[in-house]
Symmetry: C2
Subunit: 371 residues, 2 copies
């Protein structure tokens, strides 16, 4: 099976196998060594000298952690969103009592730094800005450096980043771009199964934490900090996934993070070239904002997107993702984060070339040509 969704992605065999190692005491010396080593590795990938903590949770848990550890009910937050996961980030902030102003950009486009500046000028009381670095629901990557120049450089706001599907795949300079909290999750570029989430936490985030009154317990970063000093997690961690993280990080750092980014860029380009070669269009409005971890493809007029995905899965063993929310039926998505080879992508393109005519795409093109 060629699992090509935006996470979970296939995991290398040696990483899968390390999860069969026997349990150890999460409060003992062996675990302490692993915790310190993987935390050091995570900091290298996040490109930060600040803290990075490991949660037993999905990425959504890490998004909640970013919010509840830095904001108080009534705090104003600007949610610069370009898709479904951006909307979720704002929703979490709202549910916990923040006053959220939504700066929504049309699906398929990226954050416009000028509009971000306008929104921040319009309300000086805004305390934090929420941003999704890589929006898998639309296959768009925001320019975090440009976002940071406005949010930090011009306004010095708290910058909370959903980096779930970007960190370890797409360059993220946590410190360099002044990102106060960056959330990520294991089933993305990290080449791991789902179950762990990672949260970076800057000194500025700690200052915000000291004043933040949103209720938190399981996701309270202060607990993670206090226990980390003893070489322990505050709550029983997913030990098997920690073994896997340890091996994955050693592979990633041995390859070199720059090479990991290049690999993603090259696989992303290959995927876009492949689908365009079939006569399809990518969903993002410009090539320059297309994600290197997940390619969103427009379902052509007259094609049943659900049938397309079903045939890809049942006839060719290629598992793709559909569109979410209002994009359901309008796009399909090809995940290529983490452990993805050019053969994997060739397999997707080959299978599409067989299935597309079966779901009426060739016919649609022929009609277009005739008219």
């Amino acid at each position: 099976v060629n699992l090509r969704i935006p996470g979970p992605i296939p995991v290398p065999d040696d990483i899968l196998e390390t999860m069969s190692n026997p349990m150890i005491n999460h409060r003992g010396p062996e675990f302490k060594e692993i915790l310190f080593r993987v935390t050091d590795g995570l900091k290298q990938v996040f490109d930060t000298e600040s803290d990075v903590y490991i949660l037993t949770a999905s990425g959504t848990g890490a998004m909640e952690a970013a919010i509840v550890n830095t904001l108080s009910p009534g705090d104003k937050a600007l949610n610069a969103t370009v898709g479904v996961f951006g909307e979720r980030f704002g929703k979490i902030a709202e549910l916990f009592g923040a006053k959220v102003t939504t700066l929504g950009f049309p699906y398929g486009t990226a954050i416009d730094p000028d509009k971000l500046r306008e929104a921040l000028n319009a309300d000086p009381d805004i305390k934090a800005v929420l941003v999704t670095q890589n929006e898998t629901s639309t296959g768009v990557t925001n320019d975090m450096e440009a976002v940071s120049r406005v949010v930090k450089g011009e306004f010095d706001k708290l910058l909370l980043v959903d980096g779930i599907s970007s960190v370890c795949s797409i360059p993220m300079q946590t410190d360099g771009w002044g990102c106060d909290v960056v959330a990520s999750a294991s089933q993305k570029g990290w080449m791991l199964p789902p179950g762990l989430a990672f949260v970076s936490f800057s000194q500025r985030a700690w200052k915000a934490h000291a004043e933040a009154t949103m209720p938190r317990y399981y996701f309270d970063m202060a607990m993670y900090r206090r226990y980390f000093e003893m070489g322990q997690p505050p709550y029983t961690p997913a030990v098997s996934l920690m073994f896997a993280l340890d091996l994955a990080l050693s592979k990633i750092l041995a390859e070199g993070i720059g090479s990991v980014f290049e690999r993603h860029a090259s696989i992303g380009q290959m995927t876009r070239d492949g689908v365009r070669g079939l006569g399809l269009s990518i969903f993002p409005k410009e090539e320059s904002i297309a994600s290197n971890t997940c390619t969103a493809v427009a379902v052509p007029d007259g094609v049943d997107g659900t049938r397309l995905l079903t045939l890809m899965r049942t006839e060719h063993g290629v598992v793709l993702a559909g569109g979410q929310g209002s994009l359901s039926g309008k796009i399909f998505r090809i995940g290529h984060m983490g452990y993805t080879t050019s053969e994997d992508i060739e397999g997707v393109v080959r299978a599409l070339s067989v299935v597309l005519p079966q779901v009426g795409f060739a016919a649609a093109r022929a009609r277009a040509r005739r008219s």
Copy 2:
């Protein structure tokens, strides 16, 4: 290594190996089958016809879920606590804004139903009662049937139960005892690595949920219910642990849950007999309340508990747990939940018989005999 802490516990090889299976789409048909099958199995073990949901979290996350899904800030809750985990349960409720009355019983004792009745009579506004079925910090199991007779039978309050280290090891009649929410976690009797938590949710809990205003997103049971209807989890689940859960439940149900309980009772008895045979005393004040998943043993006067545990680990490969909080240095704990054999316990007792004299226990006994 003989890992004998109150979780994680050793996991059978076939369950460990199933975690090396390749990733699958958590929104596809294969995962749907697994989700429905394991949920059905969980309901059998929880002994409930109500809902049971699976969280990617430690047990503490499930405790938070029990609170935030049923209570509002300002709601009164009675926390009947017998140890560290009971205190944590009350702390979570307080942090999220509940007005918590603590009914604390001395460490080493169990909940006294008469005092519970008094406390509930003293404040008719109490909405919910928090109870730990099995308190691993003191090695005490509360009589949930007796607790239920008061909380549900006499007062009909919302009953929120921390069953993290009891469900699947010690009888729990979720429906029969009217437990509205019961939280458990994978690294206990379930014979699994940590990383999954389970939450049962009664119809009464759903009624409370409709009115409960504590903020929640990641742990909002309504999201789990809505997605479950589509055969999906709301957020990306720990897929490898779901494979493991599937196999563990098939083993547990094949053995028969009654036999699982008997096995725990017999191993618990064997452990208590073994440590008493060495001249040690169990920490719980009465045999009848001693836990069958975790035996707390009093550190004898004059013995350095830390040195005892270090020698057990380094010289004999037996990993025990110390005491938590104010019990640090006063007790040590032997975990025997889940996949524990009589050979495992014999190994603990044998190693203790060697180490105890080395840390001055024989000498202490001799002195006592002389005086």
